[in-house]
Amino acid sequence: MALDKTTVANIAFLARIDIPEDRQETLARELSSILTWVEQLEQVDTQGVEPMASVANLALSWRPDAVTDGGCVDDVLSNAPEKNSNCFVVPRMVE
């Protein structure tokens, strides 16, 4: 799979990563060569093989639906780049 600059720019938007114009060409080449290499997996016959998401083979454990943690607003906000009145502050989204 060969990716072009436009596709790279689109993936970068999906991933919300600002990639300067002058890096997109190189990145397109690098990502293309990785994807081409990965396409070897097409050779493997996986007919009837279930996808494997985890090796843990655990049923998720149950617990009582009770509050066990909380009341730590200061901890939660301690690393906030910008905060106000116990809230995280972000750029205005609605005009």
Binding site: D18, S33, V44
Partner: protein, 493 residues
């Protein structure tokens, strides 16, 4: 006179018990070594005052008869383990000033066992790499050098700072994490023991996530016995990690008998690839002989899907990383680069905060998970992962452990590192398959290359059979009698 920084974990524990020295003396020796060894770049953050305070408390506890498994033993934590009140960076600009409000479960388990924390060790950014070169803080350096050559060598990665610290005698032991080989490859490069436990053995709570279905914490030490001791202190079920296994933690050290008569050892045919370094191949053969001499039965096994493990790993780990690293958005913690809109703020933050390798993997992962490509890449890789796991389970039907090399080559020079990502990923060719299958695996130093660099052998065991693995490793350790110490080992000055 005993050089305190040269002791193994077990020797230091026994010395403390006999009263030969105190935890404060042991810690002070390591703090001096740490200061003398800054050229190794092993630590991102040193915490000497906190270490001394912990050591004083440990000596006080000992005086009252309370002695944990790791009582008074100074160790280092990979800077991927959250530490309350001590910055935790993942070697990324994104988290350059992140100070967690809580401790990782593994870190807390070690502290409860009495361990002293010297600081936070260097790594590849977000644990993505095999050389330590992607660290925002500059690479850690391997304490070993080639004979007659001054070139600085890579300590491996991603747990390269931990490996350099342990090999360089500036920590008795360290924690690492392993996603595709990040404990075992640096252990091999630096001539120490690195154990990746079974997936689920150690809690992932409070360890900065890379690929959650693969990440696993483990000990990096200078002996097999040390690895057994430290794993006993690190492991255990944690209700705060839903993938943490609710199984008993044995005392791994007590399970070491040194008797492997009748043990069935498998040698995977597919790992003897064309072009395998003759020295690595010869070392592997010697390892096989040593186990046979100790009474093990050696058989060849087949793991037919080995060739496809790297590509499978690359898709799955990148996909999981793209999802896990979505949390770094400049809102709640970490770097923020302002923008006019929310989207612009996200993009600028992530463009500036992540290095090129992390960005590359997020982009690949995003692509593999995007509409139209999800089946062809992500689901396909998950199916191949099952086949790879089946290969191992079948092999373990007829053998108890597998023996393989850990890496295809000894450590490379930092400035010789291949710039082509594909060549670099080949470092992980022997370690990645076991990660996909969630199996426990250990690397131990087994000899020196012609150029005087350590070479590692890897043992792989069945799920939750670390005892078998450690026991076979103990036998190999005795037979190899690896006594090499690196040129640059921070001694007391």
């Amino acid at each position: 006179m005993t050089v305190l920084t040269d002791l193994t974990l077990v020797e230091a524990r026994d010395g403390l018990a006999k009263g030969d020295f105190t935890a404060v003396e042991l810690t002070e020796a390591h703090i001096r070594a740490m200061e003398a060894s800054r050229a190794l770049g092993a630590y991102i953050t040193e915490t000497p005052e906190q270490a001394l305070e912990q050591a004083r408390q440990s000596d006080a506890r000992r005086a009252t008869g309370t002695v944990g498994l790791m009582e008074g033993l100074p160790v280092a934590l990979k800077d991927l383990f959250c530490t309350k009140g001590v910055r935790t960076t993942a070697a990324s600009r994104m988290l350059e000033n992140f100070v967690p409000p809580y401790d990782s479960t593994v870190g807390r388990n070690l502290a409860r066992a009495g361990a002293v924390t010297l600081g936070k060790t260097n790594l590849d950014e977000f644990a993505m790499g095999s050389s330590n070169r992607t660290s925002f803080f500059g690479p850690a350096v391997n304490p070993w050098k080639r004979t007659g050559d001054d070139a600085a060598l890579a300590p491996g990665g991603s747990s390269g700072g931990s490996a350099a610290a342990v090999a360089g005698r500036i920590a008795l032991a360290a924690t690492g994490t392993d996603t595709g080989g990040s404990i075992r490859q640096p252990a091999a490069f630096c001539g120490i023991v690195g154990l990746k436990p079974t997936y689920g053995r150690c809690s992932r709570r409070g360890i900065i996530a890379f690929a959650s279905s693969l990440d696993q914490a483990g000990p990096m030490t200078r002996s097999v016995k040390d690895a057994a001791l430290m794993l006993s202190a690190m492991a255990g079920h944690d209700p705060l990690d839903s993938t943490s296994a609710p199984v008993e933690v044995p005392n791994f050290e007590n399970a070491l008998t040194g008797d492997i008569r009748g043990l069935r050892v498998g040698v995977p045919r597919e790992y003897r690839a064309d072009g395998l370094d003759p020295e690595v191949s010869a070392l592997w053969d010697r390892g096989v002989e040593m186990l046979r001499d100790a009474g093990a039965e050696v058989v060849e096994v087949s793991l037919p899907h080995t060739d496809h493990a790297l590509a499978t790993y690359y898709i799955l780990s990148s996909a999981e990383a793209s999802s896990n690293l979505a949390r770094y958005d400049g809102v709640r913690y970490g770097l923020r680069v302002e923008g006019k809109t929310l989207d612009e703020m996200y993009s600028r933050t992530r463009g500036a905060g992540f290095g090129p390798e992390v960005q590359r993997r997020i982009l690949i992962g995003t692509y593999a998970l995007s509409a139209g490509f999800y089946d062809a890449y992500y689901l396909k890789a998950q199916r191949v992962r099952r086949l790879i796991t089946r290969d191992f389970l079948e092999a373990f039907g007829s053998v108890d452990v597998l023996l393989t090399p850990t890496t295809p080559t000894p450590a490379f020079a930092l400035d010789e590192e291949p710039t082509d990502p594909l060549t670099l990923y080949l470092n992980d060719v022997f370690t990645v398959p076991t990660s996909l299958a969630g199996l426990p695996a250990l690397s131990m130093p087994a000899g020196l290359s012609g150029q005087g660099l350590p070479l590692g052998l890897q043992l792989v065991g069945r799920h939750f059979q670390e005892e078998t693995l450690l026991n076979a490793a103990l036998v190999l350790e005795r037979a190899c009698a690896f006594s090499g110490a690196p040129m640059f080992a921070g001694k007391e000055v």
